[in-house]
C-alpha cells in the first residue's frame, strides 16, 4: 500500500475520547455528537454534490488526528483592564463555562454544516475566546495569529451594545486544517471581523464561520484569502433579531493552481434586516475560484434588504471562476438583488488608463489594485487592512495585461 509516511494518521473516535478525559461532561457530549455527525457525512470527492466543480486531484482532504492549536494574541492592555477578555478557549471553558457552553450548544440552521465543521467541533484542541461585555467599546483591534494546529476554534462574544474589531490570521503549515469560528453579536453590538487565510501553499484550509446577530446588531466581515493549495470557506450569517445588519466582504488573490471555494449564507430571520455581500476574486495562472451564495428570507422577515455581488477578474487565460446564487425568498415585501461577473480586466478601463500614459502592465496593476481597494475601504478599518494591501503588492508585480 502506498502511504505517505509524513502524514499524520486519520482522526478516530479514540482521539476524541483522549480530548474528553479532562473536560466537563457537557463538552464531551458535544464532541461525541459532532464526531458522530462527521462519521455519517461522506468524504467528499469529485462526485459529491457541491464539490463537482472542483478538481481535487492530488489534494489530500482526509481529516488528521488533532494537533494542538498554536496561537498568539495581541490586545491593548487598556482594553483588558476595562473588561475585555481574550484567552485560550480551553481555559474559557472553565472560567466562562456558562457562556462557552451556551455558544457551543447553539443549533445552527446553516445550510452547509458539513463534514469539516463537524470534525472541527469534535476535535478542536484549544483556540481563542474573545468576550466583550455589554457596552464595552474597544480602543484597539484584537489580533489573533494562528501558526499551527489542525482544528483551530475561535469564539467571539460581543455583549449588548459592545463594539470591537477582531483580526484573525491563519498561517498554519499543517497539510489539513479545519476551523470553526462563532461570532455572537448581542443587541446593538457593532463587530468587525477580519479573517485572513495565508496558510502554506501545500495546505488544505477549511474555515466555517457562523454568526448570530440579535436586534439591531451590525456585523462587518472580511474574508481575505491568499494562501493554501485548496481553501474552502463557509460564512453563514443569521440575522436573528429585527433590524440586524451584516456586510459580508470577501477578497481572494489566487495564483498557480490554488483553488478557493466560497459558500455564503445570508439568513434573514426577522423583519427589517439588511445584508450586503461583496465577494471578489482576482485569479492568476491556473487558479480557480468557486462561489455559491445563498440568500434566505423567511416569511416573517418582511421589509428586509439583501444584496449579493460576486466579481471575478481573470488575469490569465488558464484561470477560471464559477459562481452560483441561490435564493429562497418567502417574504413578499423585500428587496433582493444579486449579480455576478467573470472576465478579464475591462478593456475600456485598460485603454482609459493607458491613454493617460500608463504602460499596459502598470495600467492592469492599477485596476487590480483598485478592485481590491474598494473592498478594503468598505471594511472600514485601515488599521487591520493596510498590511493586507502590502501582502498583495508583490503578487500584483506579476500581473500584466492579458
Amino acid at each position: 500500500m502506498a502511504t505517505n509516511i509524513e502524514r499524520a494518521p486519520d482522526v478516530d473516535r479514540a482521539a476524541i475520547e483522549q480530548l474528553v478525559k479532562s473536560e466537563p461532561d457537557w463538552l464531551g457530549d458535544l464532541r461525541r455528537a459532532a464526531f458522530t455527525r462527521y462519521e455519517e457525512l461522506p468524504q467528499p470527492d469529485a462526485t459529491t454534490p457541491g464539490w463537482r466543480r472542483l478538481s481535487l486531484e492530488g489534494i489530500d482532504l482526509r481529516a488528521p488526528r488533532p494537533a494542538p492549536t498554536v496561537f498568539t494574541t495581541q490586545v491593548s492592555a487598556a482594553d483588558r483592564e476595562r473588561g475585555l477578555v481574550v484567552c485560550s478557549l480551553a481555559d474559557a471553558a472553565r472560567s466562562h463555562e456558562g457562556d462557552v457552553r451556551q455558544a457551543l450548544s447553539i443549533e445552527h440552521k446553516g445550510k452547509s454544516v458539513g463534514r469539516y465543521a463537524a470534525i472541527a467541533e469534535a476535535a478542536w484542541q484549544d483556540g481563542v475566546f474573545v468576550y466583550a461585555p455589554a457596552h464595552f467599546v474597544a480602543q484597539e483591534p484584537v489580533r489573533i495569529e494562528l501558526s499551527s494546529g489542525t482544528y483551530p476554534r475561535v469564539m467571539v462574544l460581543a455583549g449588548e451594545g459592545a463594539q470591537l474589531t477582531v483580526a484573525e490570521t491563519h498561517r498554519e503549515q499543517d497539510p489539513v486544517s479545519a476551523g470553526v469560528v462563532d461570532l455572537l453579536c448581542g443587541g446593538g453590538a457593532v463587530v468587525r471581523y477580519l479573517h485572513v487565510q495565508d496558510c502554506a501553499r501545500t495546505a488544505a484550509a477549511f474555515s466555517h464561520q457562523r454568526a448570530m446577530l440579535e436586534r439591531d446588531a451590525r456585523l462587518i466581515t472580511l474574508n481575505f484569502g491568499i494562501g493554501g493549495r485548496f481553501a474552502r470557506t463557509d460564512v453563514e450569517v443569521e440575522l436573528r433579531g429585527p433590524g440586524a445588519e451584516s456586510d459580508m466582504l470577501g477578497l481572494v488573490f489566487a495564483e498557480d493552481r490554488q483553488q478557493f471555494d466560497y459558500r455564503t449564507l445570508q439568513g434573514h430571520r426577522s423583519p427589517n434586516t439588511r445584508s450586503d455581500l461583496l465577494f471578489k476574486a482576482a485569479l492568476d495562472d491556473q487558479s480557480h475560484a468557486s462561489y455559491t451564495g445563498v440568500i434566505v428570507i423567511d416569511r416573517g422577515a418582511q421589509r428586509s434588504d439583501a444584496y449579493q455581488a460576486n466579481r471575478n477578474l481573470l488575469l490569465k487565460e488558464g484561470a477560471r471562476a464559477d459562481t452560483e446564487p441561490m435564493l429562497e425568498i418567502e417574504a413578499d415585501d423585500v428587496r433582493c438583488t444579486h449579480g455576478a461577473t467573470v472576465g478579464p480586466v475591462d478593456e475600456e478601463q485598460l485603454f482609459y488608463a493607458r491613454s493617460r500614459g500608463l504602460e499596459a502592465d502598470a495600467a492592469a496593476r492599477l485596476i487590480v489594485e483598485g478592485f481590491f481597494a474598494e473592498v478594503f475601504e468598505k471594511f472600514g478599518n485601515p488599521a487591520v487592512t493596510d498590511s493586507l494591501r502590502s501582502a498583495v503588492a508583490p503578487h500584483l508585480g506579476r500581473v500584466g495585461a492579458v
Binding site: Y352, S355, R356, L358, L366, G370
Partner: protein, 253 residues
C-alpha cells in the same frame, strides 16, 4: 510641412468590421484651436479613439503623423507620453482607484526618468487645477468617474489635461450635457491652456462652446470624411442652418 503638430492623410478606420472613417485628411497646427463638427454618427468619436490607439479601432489605410512622426504603430500609452491627450466623450470608471492616485500614476508615467515628482509639486498641480475648474477638492479622494454625474466627468477630463499638460488635446464633446455655468467654467479651463505650443482639437456637435472659445479653424465631418473647412463663420452657419443642407448637398453631388 514638418511644422504640423498633427497631420492625418487618407485615414481609413474600421470598427466591428465596418469602415467608419473613409479617407480623412486633417491638419492641426501648434498654438491653434480647431473645431471638428459633424452630425451624430459621422465618426467623430471613432476618429478620436483611433488617434489615441484604441485596440478596437483598426487603421486599414492612411497615416497619422504627430510631431512629424508616424504614430500608427505606437501603443496608446506611447502616444500619451509623446504628448497626445484624449478627453473622452464617455470616460471609464475605475472603481477603487482614487482620482489623486490615478493622476499620480499618470504623471509618473509621463515623467519617467526625468525629475522626480515631489509630493509638494504634485499637490500644487492638483490644487491649481481644482481651483481653476471650481471643483470640490473632495473629488481627489473619490474613485475615478465612479458614480460621477455627466458634468463631473467632463470636468475631470479637463483636470487631467491641466495636470498632464499635453501638446495636443483632443476633446470629444467635452461640452455636451453641461449647464451654462459649467460650460463657461470648462471653456475657461480650456482657454487657460491655450499656449503657442499647444493645439486643441475640439470635437463638438454644437456651436455653443464656440461662443466662449474662438476656434481658428472649423472642420466639418460627414460620414467619415472632412467635407468642409473654414473659419469661425462656418460654425455660425451650421448653427443657423443645421447639418441638413450640407448633407443634401453631398448626396446630390
Amino acid at each position: 510641412m514638418a511644422d504640423h503638430l498633427l497631420h492625418i492623410t487618407d485615414l481609413h478606420v474600421s470598427v466591428a468590421g465596418n469602415e467608419i472613417i473613409r479617407g480623412l485628411d486633417l491638419t492641426v497646427n501648434r498654438g491653434s484651436v480647431h473645431a471638428l463638427m459633424g452630425p451624430n454618427g459621422s465618426g467623430k468619436s471613432t476618429l478620436s479613439l483611433a488617434l489615441m490607439g484604441h485596440p478596437k479601432y483598426t487603421i486599414t489605410k492612411g497615416d497619422i503623423k504627430f510631431k512629424g512622426q508616424s504614430i500608427v504603430e505606437l501603443s496608446p500609452d506611447e502616444r500619451a507620453r509623446l504628448g497626445m491627450f484624449l478627453g473622452f466623450q464617455y470616460p471609464s470608471a475605475v472603481p477603487g482607484v482614487s482620482v489623486a492616485n490615478f493622476l499620480r500614476n499618470a504623471l509618473m508615467a509621463h515623467h519617467k526618468g526625468s525629475s522626480p515628482l515631489t509630493p509638494a509639486k504634485f499637490k500644487q498641480l492638483l490644487d491649481n487645477g481644482i481651483r481653476k475648474l471650481k471643483m470640490d477638492p473632495a473629488v481627489l479622494a473619490r474613485y475615478v468617474n465612479d458614480g460621477f454625474s455627466g458634468g463631473e466627468k467632463k470636468r475631470l477630463e479637463i483636470l487631467q489635461a491641466l495636470v498632464l499638460e499635453p501638446d495636443l488635446e483632443i476633446l470629444d464633446e467635452t461640452d455636451s450635457g453641461l449647464d451654462i455655468d459649467a460650460l463657461r467654467i470648462i471653456a475657461e479651463g480650456i482657454e487657460a491652456q491655450r499656449t503657442g505650443e499647444r493645439a486643441i482639437l475640439l470635437i463638438t456637435h454644437y456651436q455653443r462652446i464656440l461662443n466662449y472659445l474662438k476656434p481658428d479653424v472649423v472642420h466639418v465631418m460627414v460620414r467619415g470624411k472632412i467635407v468642409r473647412e473654414g473659419g469661425p463663420e462656418l460654425a455660425a452657419e451650421l448653427e443657423a442652418k443645421g447639418y441638413d443642407p450640407l448633407i443634401k448637398e453631398l448626396v446630390e453631388a
